[in-house]
């Protein structure tokens, strides 16, 4: 293999009482890539991440980080990554500067080095103006930025991000994505969990889809989207007797199943460029339509698609 693995996860399992929350999950994360763990709430993403970052003991299975076992060499493994948790894991009661200072010191930096790194990170994450204010007055985005800054104190080459943009407004989310892309450019390996398909699509090189604790599917976002199918075109045929002619007309134009619910039709689209010819054909056949919409596949569709017959 040409690229080395940053992380190897094999047969990882965690039970809480009777419930198996993470069920025999195995995957590798290559150095320098963004690896996404995608799944709905309660799928086991965070539990998996917590085991990978030594916060939780696995019931079975093994995780190695740059070749070091997270159980046997926990301390060494811990020194090799930065972690940004789902809930802001910074101190609410103290200022941004104090947070960075304290975490720098806890990471083993000398007082002078800690001061220098704090100044650097405050600048890098545009937090200088609010550096000495209590975090209570911080916006969600600022808090996440500080959180990420704290994770980067030791310049780890491996960074874990647990739902980095959950609860952020679209603008702040885009800022976070830019920051993550910059980290990748600097050569970091990133493991992130997300419930947003769009986020996984935007950032991840490789994805593992997790549902009910099981690894359902792995691949690149492009591969997965192909599996799910693309967007769907939905519209209502205005006159009842024109529904069947419309279905017949479109069957020749698209691949995949056309779903019909009363006078509503849902047509799979491989590409958005298929839209004009379809509309043109309908117009030519003098079929009147209304309530037209194009729906991108949602995470729900992914799970519907991937877990059919399994549950």
């Amino acid at each position: 293999m040409s690229t080395k693995n940053a992380i190897e996860v094999s047969h990882l399992t965690k039970r809480f009482g009777q419930k198996t929350v993470v069920d025999d999950i195995s995957f590798n994360v290559r150095q320098g890539e963004v690896f996404g763990l995608l799944g709905p709430n309660g799928a086991g993403k965070t539990t998996t991440l917590r085991m990978m970052t030594t916060l939780l003991k696995a019931d079975a299975g093994q995780v190695t980080i740059f070749g070091h076992d997270t159980v046997k060499e926990g301390r060494l493994a811990r020194s090799m990554f930065g972690l940004t948790g789902q809930y802001a894991s910074v101190d609410e009661d103290i200022s941004a500067r104090e947070n960075l200072m304290i975490f720098s010191r806890l990471n083993g930096l000398s007082r002078t080095a800690a001061k220098q790194r704090t100044t650097e990170l405050l600048a890098e994450f545009s937090l200088e103006e609010s550096a000495d204010k209590a975090l209570k007055n911080f916006s969600g985005g600022m808090r996440r930025r500080l959180d990420l800054a704290v994770s980067l104190i030791t310049r780890p080459t491996l960074i874990f991000l647990d739902e980095p943009t959950t609860g952020l407004d679209p603008r702040t989310r885009a800022q976070m994505w830019t920051t993550i892309r910059q980290l990748v450019k600097q050569g970091s390996t990133i493991v992130l969990t997300t419930q947003y398909l769009e986020e996984a699509d935007q950032l991840a090189d490789n994805l593992a889809i997790i549902d009910h604790g099981k690894l359902v599917k792995m691949g690149t976002p492009a591969e997965l989207k192909e599996q799910i199918g693309g967007a769907r075109l939905a519209f209502t045929v205005s006159q009842e007797d024109q529904v069947q002619p419309a279905v017949q007309l479109l069957t020749g134009q698209v691949t995949g199943v056309i779903q019909q619910t009363g006078q509503q039709l849902s047509v799979p689209l491989k590409q958005i460029t298929q839209l004009p010819p379809i509309l043109a054909a309908l117009k030519q056949a003098q079929i009147m339509i209304s309530h037209l919409s194009v729906k991108e596949p949602s995470l729900d569709d992914v799970f519907m698609n991937l877990t059919v017959g399994k549950n």
């Binding site: 811990r78 009661d93 104090e98």
Partner: protein, 257 residues
């Protein structure tokens, strides 16, 4: 790769964590209110309510009640540490502490060292209130400092027990209520507020089993005789044993969390 390996400097980590907790309390002076208001309130209430009935006057009651309320305040300050640890654990910031390559006792020890400031403040408030109400220990200031330190050390040792409670409990609220009950039972079922000979036999038996009774007796003896006593030494030894047992247990519970 710029990864700084860390030698697990326990003392340094603990000092940093203590600094963190100090910063937290400085940013939130409200957190001192309980240890400041409670001893003043209890000293005034108990002194003026029961002084006449129990000792024939407030002034005569003070040598009994000042050590009693001092230790009661130490107990409740200790319960505060337990609740604070639970709150911290639930806040997510402890996840980061745990993911750092540092000594696992540091977050706990840091908290408890920073909390000794609360204990110190509580001690000063208790003794000053007593003084303002007319308490004049004959043995001089030096021995007042000694009993102050003895009380603080005892409070600090006890806070390891409450820390363990905090780590094992489900929520900060449950720590608070459990600790409050423990505190009330321990302080009232002792010689803190009433002379032992006034108690019924079964009650006296319980009070004699209560470690709080021994701490208060030791303090009263020092204040009465102006010398270090055998009982005081026993209290110190007992405190050391508590820390030796409960500090490792707390770290174990912390790792388990």
């Amino acid at each position: 790769m710029d990864v700084r390996m860390h030698k697990g400097n326990v003392v340094m980590n603990t000092a940093t964590m203590a600094y963190r907790n100090l910063l937290k309390t400085i940013h939130n002076p409200d957190s001192f209110m309980d240890v400041v208001i409670q001893p003043v309130m209890f000293m005034l209430m108990f002194g003026y309510l029961f002084g006449g009935a129990i000792a024939g006057g407030v002034r005569a009651y003070l040598p009994t009640i000042v050590p009693g309320i001092l230790i009661q305040t130490m107990l409740s300050a200790g319960t505060g540490s337990g609740a604070q640890i639970r709150e911290d654990l639930d806040s997510g910031v402890f996840d980061r502490f745990k993911s750092l390559p540092m000594a696992h006792i540091a977050p706990l020890a840091g908290q408890l060292f920073a909390d000794s400031l609360r204990l110190l403040l509580a001690t000063i408030t208790s003794l000053t209130t007593g003084y303002l109400m007319g308490w004049r220990p004959a043995v001089g200031f030096k021995w007042v400092v000694v009993i102050g330190l003895l009380a603080i050390f005892t409070g600090w040792a006890l806070s390891w027990i409450f820390a363990l409670l905090g780590l094992l409990a489900k929520s900060a609220a449950s720590v608070q209520s459990l600790s409050l009950m423990t505190m009330l039972v321990l302080s009232f079922m002792s010689n803190a507020f009433v002379p032992l000979h006034s108690l019924t036999k079964p009650l006296r038996f319980i009070a004699n089993l209560n470690p709080v009774t021994y701490v208060i007796t030791a303090i009263r003896q020092i204040l009465a005789t102006g010398g270090w006593t055998h009982e005081a030494l026993l209290v110190v030894v007992f405190d050391v044993i508590i820390v030796a047992i409960f500090a490792p247990l707390a770290v174990w519970a912390y790792d388990r969390n």
